[in-house]
Symmetry: C2
Subunit: 193 residues, 2 copies
Amino acid sequence: MGEDRPLRADAARNRGRILEAATRQIMARGPEVPMEAIAEDAGVAVGTLYRHFPTKQVLVVAVLAECFGALTSAAEAAADRIDAGASAIAEFTAFARIVMEDAAGNLAMKAAARSLGADVHEAEERSRGEAAMTRLLDAAKAEGTVRPDLGIEDCYLFFITVPVDQPPAMRDRWFELMIAGFRAGAVSRSTAP
Amino acid sequence: MGEDRPLRADAARNRGRILEAATRQIMARGPEVPMEAIAEDAGVAVGTLYRHFPTKQVLVVAVLAECFGALTSAAEAAADRIDAGASAIAEFTAFARIVMEDAAGNLAMKAAARSLGADVHEAEERSRGEAAMTRLLDAAKAEGTVRPDLGIEDCYLFFITVPVDQPPAMRDRWFELMIAGFRAGAVSRSTAP
DNA sequence: TCATATGATGAACCATGATTCAGGTTATGG
DNA sequence: CCATAACCTGAATCATGGTTCATCATATGA
């Protein structure tokens, strides 16, 4: 089924350049950047883009996979630090901040945040990310510093609702409220009316 | 400067139809609905749309003003009920729910939520809304059921971050977390680590 | 070195959608 | 009942951007 025939040298080089250019352009200008712009950045003709990626969507998904991969690595690193004795709530919060900043500064992620539910990430990549986030959540719950009913869905909710095009001060405020909501009731219900 | 020359009968009728059609179409299909679609719905030719509204943006803004007006009325009604003795937190929460549902179900509001910061609402309409929300906030703060540092910005933040295209269950969950964040620390800091 | 499969090119094609305008209608005041 | 200013119509114009394909170039194995 698959063709493993090794790419011709120039083709391999172009493929790499295209992916780099696409990443650069999509992160900086968003998924709505014209294919022409990506082609120019890569130093090839549009036709070449289509030889390597049948549609624009495929290219965008490829770029997103890279971006999500980076976030997943950050989550894993945080979880590792917790295992090594770091404060779970501190690591959890720090990771959340990274997610927020990424969603706001990386136009690729910003778009992804808006359309999650679409077939954005491969099952494989996704499950790796979920595993890492689960480690973070479980550690924080064991520590008793977040609501015991938090789940992966809440993490997605966090990502999805980052106020991406608000000024930094506004985002910081949102972060505070959101984290407060994640912690609320962690120890007691004393704030209920 | 302004021209008060009364519109010709047919022109007035068309203007009305156009506004109705635009409201219907934009609320149902979003601001990206083609002008053609609005014209057809209104039973006029595109040219007529442009006679009454110089650009699409003007038409969209007009529709948004209507929508915001409706929300403002809801806020005022809630504030009135509080003045009449109703629970502030209950009214506040109920109003928040209305906002959420509107943002999710009305594609015009959904788009507005995404681009707030743009010149969406007239200063006049806006201040009326802010006045109503301030009444709600003040009452809830006086009651001691929300964080004492909540402000108008937080209300915008709420509106802006509604997870508009998630399934209802997800939105409800978000609502719970968000309201928890709004209340957190209202009475005590007992939930701090 | 050569044949040729693989790869590259970019103008052309197609679709969508905002906006315009030349020409045909009609409400309305006199 | 007219004259005519206001209106309306909708095909045409522009602009954007994804995708294709006939044509040309070259990497590579024999």
